[in-house]
Amino acid sequence: MKAVYFAWVRERIGRNEEEISPPAEIVDVRGLIGWLSARGEEYAHAFENPDVIRVAIDRAHGKHDAPISGAREIAFFPPMTGG
């Protein structure tokens, strides 16, 4: 699946997007954030406060307990500040 990052999540991780292949035991957004956090310091920094991270699954807002099975694109970003 594709992971995409925005705003300071993107800046901390240092990339806009990447292909990821989490293991089968990662079933929901919360698990995926934990798995990503372990990929390196930049990820640990980006996800140091998981509660503030917002997620979109295939371009629709999702909660941290949402299943990720079948998702093609999962986005991680801070709370939105548009408008």
């Binding site: 995409v4 925005f6 705003a7 300071w8 979109a56 371009r59 629709a60 807002h61 986005a75 970003f77 801070p78 709370p79 939105m80 500040t81 548009g82 408008g83």
Partner: protein
């Protein structure tokens, strides 16, 4: 009702958008337009920079418009959100809601603005006037609380 939804770096012309929306119509009684401008925050700000999630931003705005249209009798809706660098005093966002009823036009426009602030995937970064260090704008509790009035 097919909304007009645009995300663009270019500026917009609110009057031209209203004119396009109401041209040849004799049934629209009320048009409410919201224009959001870049403030200089007391002279502190050189510019705002807006990032968005291409694809999702348009889709999320379309979902908001659909919710608004299900709730109020809206005849036409336009939403334009700029991205990129924006100078103080310049326009950032435009929401137009038209209806035969003024209460619907007001409620539709304010509902869309409240959800644009909190649910549309846009992020603002401040470029201060006194140095290169930029800072992401933090989400405000006030904006989350603004949603409560739509939960009644």
């Amino acid at each position: 009702m097919t909304p007009r939804i645009l995300i663009q770096t270019a500026d917009f012309d609110a009057a031209a958008e209203v004119a396009a929306m109401t041209r040849d119509r004799r049934d629209i009684g009320a048009v409410v337009t919201f224009t959001g401008l870049c403030r200089d925050e007391g002279g502190r700000l050189a510019a705002l920079e807006l990032e968005h999630y291409p694809g999702m931003a348009e889709e999320e705005i379309a979902r908001m418009v659909a919710r608004a249209a299900a709730r109020w009798p809206l005849d036409a809706v336009t939403v334009i959100h700029r991205v990129g660098k924006i100078a103080p005093g310049a326009q950032i966002v435009l929401v137009i809601a038209a209806s035969s009823h003024r209460a619907a036009a007001f409620a539709g426009a304010e509902f869309l603005m409240d959800y644009l602030k909190t649910s549309a995937p846009f992020w603002k970064k401040e470029h201060p006037i006194d140095g290169p260090a930029t800072e992401w704008v933090a989400a405000r509790d006030e904006d989350d609380r603004a949603l409560e009035k739509w939960r009644a």
